[in-house]
């Protein structure tokens, strides 16, 4: 089962995309607030990009893997209770609210 998890590099790429987007947004907001000091903005943007260390990425992979396995397992128990052996949309719908509250 250990082999079946997310690739930390993939997760890092996703995280960095989000962080880049947020940094760009922040920069835009700041530029509209203060029209001068464009040089300062250019350098501070570099300083602000967030990064993640290797263990944190592995842990995030585990968290996402747990999300997927929990979704499937909870839906599977509902499907089993209804006597079907294929997980359908209704089963997912039933477990979704609690799943989203738990994560």
């Amino acid at each position: 089962m250990e082999g079946n998890t997310f690739d930390p590099d993939l997760i890092r790429a996703i995280f960095q995309l989000v962080w880049k987007r947020r940094a760009a947004e922040r920069e835009k907001n700041e530029r509209t607030e203060t029209m001068e000091a464009e040089m300062g903005v250019g350098t501070s943007k570099k300083n602000r990009l967030t990064s993640a260390n290797a263990n944190a990425l592995k842990l995030s992979c585990e968290l996402l893997r747990l999300f997927v396995t929990e979704a499937i397992q909870r839906a599977a128990t509902i499907a089993e209770a209804e006597g079907s052996n294929k997980i359908e949309a209704t089963h997912l719908e039933r477990i979704l609210p609690q799943l989203l509250l738990d994560f």
Partner: protein, 177 residues
């Protein structure tokens, strides 16, 4: 400048789509394995739905982690931040914490040293380098040393012995012949 930004946006979007597809493939393999374990078939739209949910969750997680790290006055995300982001469910937090302990136990390098290093990196040049490569190097070098020195030692000991024995065998053979 405006056209530049648009080009960037398009590039970002296509990169995001590629990432989403790769993420979906991983999710499918995880979900299929889990379904097999439970003896359940999963209809395809459900897998896609779960994958999209997990992708959204990953994006939300990225945002959370950045905010947590910033709140702690750091620029790099820590394991503590990830544990903090799993606080909504006690069982989830406990299981994530145990995994983090496992990860920590795997490399019980002197933590004080590393903390100093990361602090320095944060201040000076953390951004120009890869995010985790340095720490990984720190972990791997001692392991390699520990494995290799005995190996080299054994080889240097055994090889002459083996050589001598085989030569003796040859000599015996020629004497018999």
């Amino acid at each position: 400048m405006g056209s530049d930004m648009e080009g960037d946006d398009e590039e970002e979007e296509s990169a995001g789509e590629i990432l989403r597809d790769r993420f979906r493939l991983s999710t499918i393999s995880i979900a299929e394995a889990e379904g097999k374990k439970n003896g359940m078939q999963i209809s395809e739209p459900i897998v896609a739905c779960v994958s999209d949910l997990a992708f959204k969750y990953a994006q939300q997680l990225a945002k959370d982690l950045e905010l947590f790290a910033q709140h702690a006055g750091r620029k790099s995300v820590n394991m503590e931040d990830v544990i903090l982001s799993a606080h909504r469910n006690d069982h989830l937090a406990a299981s994530i914490r145990s995994v983090s302990n496992d990860l920590k136990a795997k490399e019980p390098q002197s933590e004080r040293k590393r903390r100093k290093n990361t602090r320095k990196e944060d201040k000076s040049n953390a951004d120009s380098k890869g995010n985790c490569s340095e720490e990984e190097f720190e972990k791997e070098i001692p392991k390699v040393n520990f494995i290799h020195y005995p190996l080299v030692f054994i080889v240097t000991l055994i090889f002459p012995l083996h050589h001598r024995v085989s030569r003796r065998g040859q000599r015996d053979g020629t004497m018999q012949g």
